[in-house]
């Protein structure tokens, strides 16, 4: 209870709420505009958090993360183009409603469902995270190394369509994280006598290259299409729900919130899986399954509740064990580290009030998301029409200024460009960059725990099977690998059959 009160005291400051709302505002915009992503938004604005405290930074980033989830539904409903991948399920019923002249109703439903899902998962986070943290505190260095390995394995397996490529990308990211001075021995590694590389490659610099500038290079492939939204129709529409409509969405919303939380806790699963799974469940339980795909409010409520219920749940493994559930959360892990908060089992012991401030803050993030959505939806709908040719140069300007701001060095911009080229080439050959990101984020922690464990055991590898927790995590890694390989074999067989 003490920590709860201390956390509340830390949270209830005007700057926290200002940055939270700024993050929400940006998140909706980046989520809504097709071609811009939540990861891109977090990466672009990460340098801004350098001057902020831990709670302010996290409120800002959580604002982007949660609102991005909701923002994706705006373009999915209005122009049949999901702003985020997990809004694809929302599009199935949202766009037919727009065609029926009920876009405002669909947008309102998406907002209510997103808020409900977000608050539900924030409450689950508040109650469950401290319990998981207590368990996590029993872990030593070998256990923690295996936790990192588990996080890396699961992300490597699910972020692309090929496990082997995921492992290669993850190991490559871990290797890059070793560049610079070795904290344990004090020696330098792969710096090629360049003084700029002494402290290694800052996370933000690599992220800007991997996820922002590489997207700009990828614009060479994508056809730029201007979209126009008629916002006048939104003003004329009566978007009030009937009693029957209100009653019909209650059950799918509650069920989808639970599904979203369960899926969100499992690293590497993500909001897309949650929204499609919930959509399917809602359809099978509905009294009017025939309406799904033709403009069902139940369908929208299920997807939107589920994809926002994931947001709080992904923070459970992140804050308690340092395992990021997806790319966006992995970047937030980096933000924690920038503020001197080392992710892992001791985070709740050493920074309990900050952790509570973040968890309570997530509830308010969702409340303010609702308020902003209610007031600004019509304006957000207009944002979709901003042409890509205007946004692209602005993104690059932000990237260059952001990369420079880290160390006030032009060398960092060069490094960013190198990472952009690496990401571009990797994408050409079907390698996902998410495992590289995870390798970069978890690199230092993984190596530290790996080396300490081996030093403790005089180089004997059996230390990694020395405790029940170690064995449990090793088993989890093996089970995960078997499941991923199994599903990939099945998929390739299906593809083969389809080709025949």
């Amino acid at each position: 209870m003490d920590l709860f009160l201390q956390g509340s005291a830390l949270l209830f400051n005007v700057p926290n709420f200002l940055y939270m709302n700024l993050g929400l505002f940006l998140g909706v915009i980046f989520g809504a505009i097709p071609g811009l992503t939540v990861i891109l938004c977090i990466v672009l604005f990460l340098p801004f958090t350098y001057t902020l405290g831990a709670v302010e930074s996290f409120m800002f980033l959580l604002g982007i993360y949660c609102a991005g989830s909701y923002g994706g539904s705006i373009s999915a409903i209005l122009i049949k183009t999901p702003g985020t991948p997990h809004a694809a399920a929302t599009m199935l019923d949202g766009y037919p409603l727009t065609k029926q002249g009920k876009s405002m109703k669909a947008l309102k439903m998406a907002l209510i469902a997103s808020t409900f899902g977000g608050i539900f998962s924030a409450i689950v986070l508040l109650f469950f995270a401290p319990q998981v943290a207590k368990f996590a505190q029993m872990m030593g260095t070998p256990e923690y190394f295996l936790v990192c390995a588990f996080g890396l394995t699961i992300i490597a397996g699910v972020s692309g369509n090929n496990l082997i490529k995921g492992i290669i990308a993850g190991a490559f990211g871990l290797f890059i994280s070793t560049i610079g001075i070795d904290a344990m021995s004090g020696g330098t590694r792969f710096i090629f006598n360049n003084i700029n590389l002494y402290s290694g490659i800052a996370l933000v610099i690599s992220l800007i290259g991997l996820f922002a500038l590489s997207e700009v290079l990828a614009k060479s492939e994508k056809v730029v299409v201007d979209t126009k939204v008629n916002t006048e129709d939104l003003n004329k529409e009566n978007a009030k729900f009937t009693q029957e409509e209100k009653k019909s969405v209650r059950r799918p919303m509650i069920l989808s919130a639970i599904i979203g939380v369960i899926i969100g806790i499992i690293p590497g699963t993500g909001a897309s899986m949650a929204s499609f799974f919930s959509y399917d469940r809602a359809r099978s339980m509905s009294k009017h399954p025939e309406m799904f795909g033709k403009g069902s409010l139940e369908g929208i409520s299920a997807c939107e509740t589920a994809n926002n219920a994931v947001t709080g749940a992904t923070l459970i493994p992140l804050l308690t064990m340092g395992i990021p559930g997806d790319g966006s959360v992995a970047i937030m892990l980096g933000a924690l580290m920038i503020n001197g908060l080392t992710p892992g089992p001791n985070l709740f012991v050493e920074h309990g009030p900050i952790m509570y401030a973040i968890m309570i803050g997530l509830i308010f993030v969702n409340i303010f998301m609702f308020l902003q959505g209610k007031i600004l939806t019509k304006w957000f709908a207009k944002v979709i029409s901003v042409p890509v040719y205007l946004l692209t140069p602005i993104i690059v300007m932000f990237c260059f200024a952001g990369a420079f701001s880290v160390n006030s060095s032009l060398f960092d911009i060069k490094v960013t460009l190198v990472f952009a080229v690496i990401a571009y080439i990797m994408s050409k050959f079907g390698f996902s960059t998410i495992p590289v990101l995870l390798g970069l984020v978890l690199g230092t922690l993984t190596e530290e725990n790996f080396r300490r464990s081996l030093v403790l055991s005089d180089g004997k590898w059996d230390i990694f099977v020395s405790s029940p927790i170690c064995i449990a995590f090793l088993s989890l890694i093996i089970i995960t690998l078997v499941l991923i390989i199994n599903s990939q074999v099945k998929n390739s067989r299906k593809k083969g059959e389809n080709n025949e």
Binding site: P47, F48, T51, N162, I164, K165, I168, A171, F172, L174, F175, T178, D182, M184, S185, G187, T188, R189, F190, I191, F192, L213, V216, L217, K219, S220, E221, V224, V388, Y389, L390, T392, P393, I394, V396, M397, F398, F400, A401, F404, S405, S408, L410, I413, L417, A420, V421, Y424, I425, M426, K428, F429, G430, T446, E447, R451, L454, V455, G459, G496
Partner: protein, 171 residues
């Protein structure tokens, strides 16, 4: 002026049409794995010179990076072998069509970013951002004057935002 711009557009369209015809069906797993094998081998070769170790201990600063490079090498070889075996068995392997036009476009964007970086040395952030913004609008064939005004204003605003609000001394 309009005629001049139209003639440039026509020239670009004709060149683009020629480049678009040049397509390659690349076996992505084979090329990708070879790329990573080369990177891993080069880095492993560089380890003794780039990571100096003065201890006789088994666990050193080299242990982890070398292990990671070995993992890259091992799994890249597995990926390569898998596709080579599929080729021998005359099975389908993963391929991707690479169009020369797309790659040239990517190179042009990259070249514009490099120009932006080089200009930062000489004319500072705001002016080089304006030049870059104008180049990009040209690249996207934007002819609206309002867009050029927006981009120039955005460059100035970003410059001021970083310099005065975030206290970053931009070049």
């Amino acid at each position: 002026m309009k005629n001049f711009l139209d003639s440039i557009d026509l020239f670009i369209d004709n060149t683009g049409a020629k480049l678009e015809k040049h397509k390659m069906n690349v076996p992505i797993n084979i090329v990708g794995s070879i790329l990573f094998i080369v990177i891993a081998l080069v880095c492993l070769k560089l380890v003794p010179s780039q990571i100096r170790v003065n201890t006789t201990s088994q666990i050193t600063a080299r242990t982890f990076p070398v292990l990671m490079l070995q993992i890259v090498l091992l799994f890249s070889s597995v990926l390569l072998l898998k596709d080579i075996i599929s080729l021998i068995r005359k099975k389908e392997i993963e391929r991707k069509e690479i169009t020369l036009l797309v790659e040239v476009r990517a190179l042009i964007i990259l070249a514009m970013m490099v120009v932006f970086l080089l200009l930062l040395h000489y004319i500072g952030f705001i002016f080089s951002s304006i030049v870059f913004g104008i180049l990009m609008l040209f690249y996207f064939r934007c002819r609206k004057l309002s867009s050029y005004i927006i981009i120039c204003s955005a460059a100035i605003m970003i410059g001021f935002l970083f310099q005065y609000l975030l206290k970053v001394r931009l070049p």
